[in-house]
């Protein structure tokens, strides 16, 4: 009964975590090969999504939305691959990719703020745009040629536990970024401003919060996160392809929603998105373990989202009634 004691605003996260644990348990019980250590595989397989989801979460917290996730990742991979093939070194490739991603995010932010275009629409256009660019870079898939930097990163920066488990550096990157993002969102003025804007933009303006700057900053950070996610993806797959991650934006949004963030903005925790990502990954993983037909993963994810949405809905209702009775 202790769960009743946790404050209302933590309920969604608690729920997400408990779901994760439950499903994980089921997995361990039912599927041989799916052990306690599979958590590392989950991280390994989903860190790119997680990194991107951080960006999406921040944008959603401002009350906006960003659909350009998937295509930015695809663009990043193909760009890196192309540069490496052309003989550039990985360091250059990665930094260029990150720079472009950040720039792109910045542009989106500016357009959204200065011309007050609806985020959904603009980022939708952005998604098409970047996807197109990716195809311009190269149509067919390009294997990512390893070079000194690349090898160094992959071989030396990854921790291996035992024979099976290795924690690749991008998992580490993810965890670091996650912690940074949590601190940023909870403990810095800029971070709180994000929440403030998402909560009530007009009020934020009148309270003297730099709405424009914060918005643009958020989309820029998001752009960076996507690019970084792309880099992680590039290291994860070692292949650049313009049609990687088609429709991934919805996965990212789903992860954020399951993570307990309200799409209206202003409510939710970055930490939640971490578990959101894990839950999504877990479901796909178990379905492959089970050999179920792929269409089930779609259906189950949908149902899961439904459950969470209903719960959040209830919570907001409860808190409203509370304030009313005051």
């Amino acid at each position: 009964m202790k769960t009743f004691k946790i404050p209302l605003r933590y309920v969604p996260i608690a729920a997400t975590i408990s779901v994760f644990c439950v499903v994980y348990l089921i997995g361990i019980i039912c599927y041989d090969g799916f052990g306690v250590l599979s958590i590392f595989d989950l991280l390994q397989d989903n860190s790119y999504l997680g990194i991107a989801a951080i960006g999406t979460a921040l944008v959603i917290l401002t009350g906006g939305i960003d659909l350009s996730v998937g295509s930015v990742i695809a663009f990043t991979t193909i760009l890196i691959a192309k540069i490496l093939v052309a003989g550039g070194n990985a360091f250059l490739a990665i930094s260029l990719a990150l720079a472009l991603g950040t720039l792109f995010g910045f542009c989106q932010g500016c357009l959204i703020h200065y011309f007050s275009l609806p985020p959904f629409l603009l980022t939708l256009a952005g998604m098409f745009f970047v996807r197109g660019c990716a195809f311009v870079v190269n149509v067919s898939d390009v294997p990512i040629k390893r070079d000194a930097v690349f090898d160094f990163v992959t071989d030396n920066l990854s921790i291996s536990i035992g024979s099976e488990i290795t924690i690749s550096f991008y998992v580490v990157v993810y965890i670091v970024l996650l912690i940074a993002a949590i601190i940023f969102s909870q403990r810095t003025r800029a971070g709180r401003n994000i929440y403030a804007i998402g909560d009530n933009e007009l009020a934020a303006t009148l309270m003297g919060i730099p709405v424009g700057r914060t918005k643009i900053m958020t989309y820029t950070i998001a752009g960076f996160c996507y690019a970084l996610g792309g880099v992680a993806f590039a290291f994860y797959l070692k292949s650049g392809y313009a049609s990687h991650c088609v429709g991934m934006e919805m996965e990212a949004i789903a992860a954020v929603v399951i993570g307990g963030t309200l799409l209206t903005g202003g409510v939710g925790y970055i930490f939640g998105s971490f578990f959101g990502v894990l839950v999504l990954g877990l479901i796909t993983a178990l379905i492959t373990y089970d050999g179920l037909d792929s269409c089930w993963s779609r259906i189950i994810v949908g149902l899961l989202m439904l459950v969470f949405i209903f719960m959040q809905n209830m919570i907001t209702k409860i808190s409203k009634s509370k304030s009313k009775s005051h």
Binding site: S18, G33, F34, L237, S243, T284, D290, G291, W296, V307
Partner: protein, 335 residues
């Protein structure tokens, strides 16, 4: 809150406890197979043949994972196979690049890997064998057939419906086709557009091309798969041209619907790209399990089917005569 937890638990349990938990049995062969997806009839046929093959082999226990055309899913699946410690892993790569690491992991866990249908561009020591078709050769065969029965004109315009941009079959079939028609200057590819290997796209793109000047007069349609060709045939009919007569239609795969069209005379030739990979694949897999050595490249036996028959479209080492399609053949086809 607890209530929610229980509700969710119930849901999760209900959805995930569908299979009973089974422990391993030494004299069975555990196989993990990762298929590209279910994007076309051809793909589905290949999936089906795999399942049928398993049905006939009681000693084989298969875990099948559909990657939904996403490489990351495929990697995840293969990793889960490694964790499950299956005896053999077999998969058909979504894209050719980027499987090096996972294959290394498989090697480290010393699980042999058999690749089917499409190639991967990694160091071949990472997998024991590749069962499947040679897309380039398919392209060549299509071209050879065309040269063999080209209309008596001084310039023959070809419209090419290519597959999903950047996918291995699309690139290689295009390559093979171009490589052969080079030798005959009168044959030229005037338009090449991607139809994404699907019927709907094939039709849409064809409809558009038909409105362009190039589309107004051309002689040959070369489609990278039958689905697109079937879509295109509809489109060609709509503008009042007669597919198979005004326009020579050549495509790759050899699915039943296409055979029907050829029999009806609405199409001329389809170069088989055999999806019925199941039996061959599992023969190889069992060999591998027993530890026997298998050749690194096992071509699946494939014919070329058309409305005439008896035309030589093979190359030096493997000559291939085309087969004339009859109702019997169609009835005999599984897909």
């Amino acid at each position: 809150m607890n209530k929610f937890a229980t509700v969710i638990m119930a849901a999760a349990a209900a959805t995930l406890l569908v299979t009973a938990c089974s422990k391993k049995d030494p004299n069975k062969t555990y196989v993990g197979i990762s298929q590209v997806g279910a994007e076309s009839d051809w793909r589905r046929a290949s999936t089906k043949s795999i399942e049928d093959a398993v049905a006939q082999r009681p000693q084989i226990v298969m875990t099948f994972a559909d990657a939904m055309q996403k490489q990351e899913n495929q990697i995840k699946a293969i990793r889960s196979f490694i964790r499950k410690k299956v005896d053999v892993i077999s998969f058909s790569p979504v894209v050719s690049s980027g499987f090096e690491d996972i294959l290394k992991e498989a090697k480290k866990a010393n699980i042999p890997v058999v690749i089917f249908d499409r190639a991967v561009d990694t160091d071949p020591s990472l997998y024991v064998s590749l069962v499947g078709s040679d897309f380039t050769e398919e392209g060549r065969r299509a071209a050879r057939w065309l040269i063999a029965n080209k209309p008596a004109k001084d310039s023959i315009k070809v419209i090419e419906l290519s597959g999903t941009a950047g996918s291995a079959p699309a690139i290689e079939r295009q390559k093979g086709f171009a490589e052969i028609i080079e030798s005959t200057p009168e044959i030229k590819v005037v338009v090449s557009q991607s139809g994404n290997f699907t019927r709907v796209e094939g039709k849409k793109v064809m409809e558009n091309i038909l409105q362009t000047p190039e589309g107004k007069d051309f002689d040959v349609l070369f489609a990278h798969n039958d689905d697109m060709a079937l879509g295109a045939i509809e489109a060609i009919r709509d503008v009042g041209k007669v597919p198979g007569k005004d326009i020579i239609i050549i495509s790759v795969d050899g699915i039943k619907d296409m055979f029907q069209e050829i029999l009806k005379g609405n199409a001329n030739c389809t170069v088989e790209c055999n999806p019925l990979i199941g039996p061959t694949l599992f023969d190889v897999i069992e060999k591998v399990k027993k530890g026997e050595t298998v050749p690194p490249r096992i071509p699946s036996l494939e014919g070329v089917f058309d409305s005439i028959g008896g035309i030589e479209v093979g190359n030096e080492e493997t000559p291939v005569q085309t087969t004339k399609i009859t109702q019997e053949i169609i009835d005999g086809r599984a897909y």
